[in-house]
Structures are given as C-alpha cells and as structure tokens.
Symmetry: C2
Subunit: 306 residues, 2 copies
Amino acid sequence: MFFEGSEKKIELHMSRSAVSLRSLPKDFWQQALAEAGAEILSVLSNQHCDAYVLSESSLFVWERKLLLITCGNTRLVDAATYMITQLGTKFISSLSYQRKSEFLSYLQASRFEDDIEQLKGHIPGIAYRVGHLDNHHHYLFCSQPTQDRNSGASLLMYHIKGEVAEYLRSDKQSSEQIRCLLQLERLLPQFQFDDYLFKPCGYSVNGMFEDRFITIHITPQERSSYVSIETNLNFSQYPFNIFSELLKILSPSSWDIIGMNTQINNQDFPSHRRLASCNLQLNQLNEFNYNHYIQADSEILCAEVL
Amino acid sequence: MFFEGSEKKIELHMSRSAVSLRSLPKDFWQQALAEAGAEILSVLSNQHCDAYVLSESSLFVWERKLLLITCGNTRLVDAATYMITQLGTKFISSLSYQRKSEFLSYLQASRFEDDIEQLKGHIPGIAYRVGHLDNHHHYLFCSQPTQDRNSGASLLMYHIKGEVAEYLRSDKQSSEQIRCLLQLERLLPQFQFDDYLFKPCGYSVNGMFEDRFITIHITPQERSSYVSIETNLNFSQYPFNIFSELLKILSPSSWDIIGMNTQINNQDFPSHRRLASCNLQLNQLNEFNYNHYIQADSEILCAEVL
C-alpha cells in the first residue's frame, strides 16, 4: 500500500519573444509527460491557464509560464529536458527545479545530483539542499532569471490524522464528499475545480480563478501519508489563512511551508512548534523561505511489524 | 567528505551448552568480519571480554554473548550469517539485529527487508520498524529468546556543534586530546580504554571495566555528523548521568535514546524537547524503549550549495 507522494516540481518562464505555451498542441504535453512516465487524466481551462490533472499530480500552463508537478517514481527531469530542447533554451528566461526528499528514495529512478547534471547540460544554474540529510530536506536548482520573479507557496503535510484522514483511507469515497470535507467551496468560493479520485485511494484537485490556481494532492496511505498544496493565491485577499484552515482539517503530525518570495503567517496554525527555518536568497529576484513545523504534542510511535 | 556513521548492530547469546565464544581463534572473527567488509584494528581484553576496535566500529566478545556493531557500507548481515552457520543455530539462544535509518540509504548494499529475509533463513523471529519513514527510524529483528535478556542503552547524536565538534573536524587532532575532551577518565575512572583516530577524521573508543563496556564512535563530518554511544553500564551506580554529560560535551541538534530493558532518565539532559517515543514489548523477556529528542531552540538551517 506504499505510494511515494513526495513530488518533483519544475517552473519555467518563457521570454517575451517566445510563442504562447498555450498555443502548443496537446501532443506536445502528452509527449513531454510520457518522458516522465505520466499522462493527462483531465483538463480545465479559463482565459489565463490550462490546468491538467495527471496520473501523477498536475500541470499548469499559462501563456509564458508553466508549472509541472509530478509524484511517485516519475522522471520529471526527462520531461523537463524534452521541453527545454523542444522550446529552445534561448526562449527560456528562467527555470527552477525542486525535489522533496522522498519517503523511499532508493525506489527513485535518479538522484537529485543526477537530475542536475542533466539539466546543467542545457541551462546553467545553482543547486542547493535545504535541510539535513537525516531529516526532511528540499533540493533546488535555479537558473539566473533575466526577468520574471517566481511566486507561490507550498504547504506539505505529513502523517495526517483524524476523521477526514480516515475517510480518505476508507473503502467508500467520492470526489464530491472529499471536496466537501476539504471545504473547498467555502474557502475558495470563486474557484472552479477539477478533481480525480484514484483507486484504491489518493485524490488530486486543481482549482482556478482568473490567473490564480491551487492544486492539492493527497496520498492518504497510513504510515506514509502526505498532502501537498501549491498555490499562487494572494493570501492577504482572504479573511482567513487558507493553509491554517487546511491544516485544521487534515491534522498532520508535521508540515513544511515553502514560500517563493512569500512569507506565510503562522499565527492561526494549529498548536505547533517551528523546528527549523531557512531564508535563502537564490538570486537577484528570488528568495526561498522554508519552515518546518511539528504538532505541539510529543508523538507516541506505534511500531510497525514488517 | 561524506561517511555513513549510522550503524547496524547484532547481539547474539549462546546457550549454556555451547563452547565459550572467547575460545574461538582470532581467525574466526577475522573471517566473519571480512564477510561484512570490516577488519580488526586493535584489541583490549580483560577477564570477562575481548573488545575489538574495527575499521568500521566495534566487536565485543564475552563467553556466551557477542555484540557486533558496524557502520559505513558494511554488510553486517553477511557476518551474522557466517557466524550463525559456523556456531550452529542449536547453540544460539537468542539473536537481535538492529539497523538505524541511514543518512544515504541508497549507498547501502542491502535494505533491512533483504537482511531479514536472509536471517530468517537461519533463525525465526519478528521484525519491526519504530519511527516514520520520513524521520529517524530504527529497524529491529528479534528471535524468541529462550533464556537471556538483552540489556543496554544507546545514545545516538546527530549534528554535533561547539568547540569539541570543531576540534574533531580539525586538521590537527590526537587520540589523547579527544579522550581528554570527552572527559572519559573523569566519567569512567575505573575503565580501561582502547581508541583509534581515523584519517582524515573519525574516532572510535572501546572502554571496559569488569563485564561492563562502553563504545563511542564519532563521525564528525560537518552536515552529516553522528556520534553513537553504546553501553551496558548500570547508570544508577554513577553520581551523574553519563549520557547527559556526553550530550553537554558534544551538543547535538537532536538525539535518540534507546534502552533495552532500561529507561534512561532525561532530567539532566541539555535543554530539549522530546518529539517522539515508543515502548515496544519485543517478547516475553525484552522491552525496547525509544525516545527521540531535539534541542529546545528552533534551528536556522544553512543551505548547502551542491
């Protein structure tokens, strides 16, 4: 019942002289995703963006920007290499590649160091690790951007507990009920959603309103549960902290908050302690902010019989 | 500069009808260790025990018990298999095998699950994992013991800091100065010590007094530093908590305390918080107590440029 929820993520900005990414045929994305070992399950479009739910996470395509997130044992670096080659490096104004430490890294097709060697063959950049090897850590690779700033925030939750977590692990689930339990319509009333319920469990949802997006991926499996939320919401426009609300609903044992040029206020978070933090100036335009939190109470571990 | 300090450990008890383990020739131990990819560097003996400093950690041999600890990329399970086969399973009254989650598990020759399959081919038992896959975790395999209880305590420290840690990473070191900085003569005045200083860094010391032992292994490398201390001391016979004293000297960011049929009091520990704990009844004779602690202050992480 193990599934590797931890994701790899690529964000790519195109120069102003490039063609619109949205004008590329669906074939292009299908071929790129095939390189990674993923496929398109569903698409939702508005005037700004095409949002794809994938067999492993999500792809968002704006005119001059794309965000591709894949989980499991996918080879995102191969999709990135395909896209870079096809689009032409001279039209790419910035590239960032991130990889979260996996639950079972030995199952992965490559290590981050291998991925970076491959990417550096096309685009120069600097690679970092934030966090100790024996704890949650994040890998980043960033080119020197010439124009656009990245922006966005991620909430990564580990070991979710409580009623909603139990429902997500149960035999009888529906997308409608999960959407209801996550309170997405209440939290983001203007958003359109497109979701997918995996068998035997697992749930992905993309949401969009104008040029804003949110994407949530839930790997509910007991003992390796993981939920990722990625968004470019403007948090100050909401009467509550969206991340706090989702933390209360899913009740993780620990969580990471990552902001790219964004600081997420933790004052409404469930009772917690911040274990570690890092502010890293990646280049002239971009700052990476990392915070690792744990629940306030000491955890009683249950031994797993193997 | 990376070295895998995390260890594998085997404890084996012989039945009362078996020959004394101490009567076995040195060849036997050399051959067993060669199976694991380790060798003997030094030996210290008293009337109870032979204590070997190894190229990767330590071996203690009593008349009816042995404790073998190996680090790096050694294949301890192969040494165990050799010993079990040579000694004869009918003379083995209990076996326990432990393995700490590694910093870089993909460099290991085998996974715990593989090791257990190999051991179960010789001796039946039950295997456990204590701790989440995305955090420090410990693997255990235990046969059903017929007579002897295990006993002992481990202190495993991660990310040591301060003057002693800096000295251990420096160009100019001596065994004498390290023994002095660790205050071993003050803490354990009755003990005899046998130590080894590795190049470019790394330090091992075995200590013995009558049938009591302590073994300390230091992997000081910055960003993956690790110190393990294993002992069968009777803590109540000392005017201070030995583990507290060593924690104050080496100042780790986090540490694990493992007691086999032993509970280590944490009241003199440096300012800390207990993140997780587990009491696991392994069988009729043995209880495994695990506690994971972190320093009280939130940690500011420095990104590592790769």
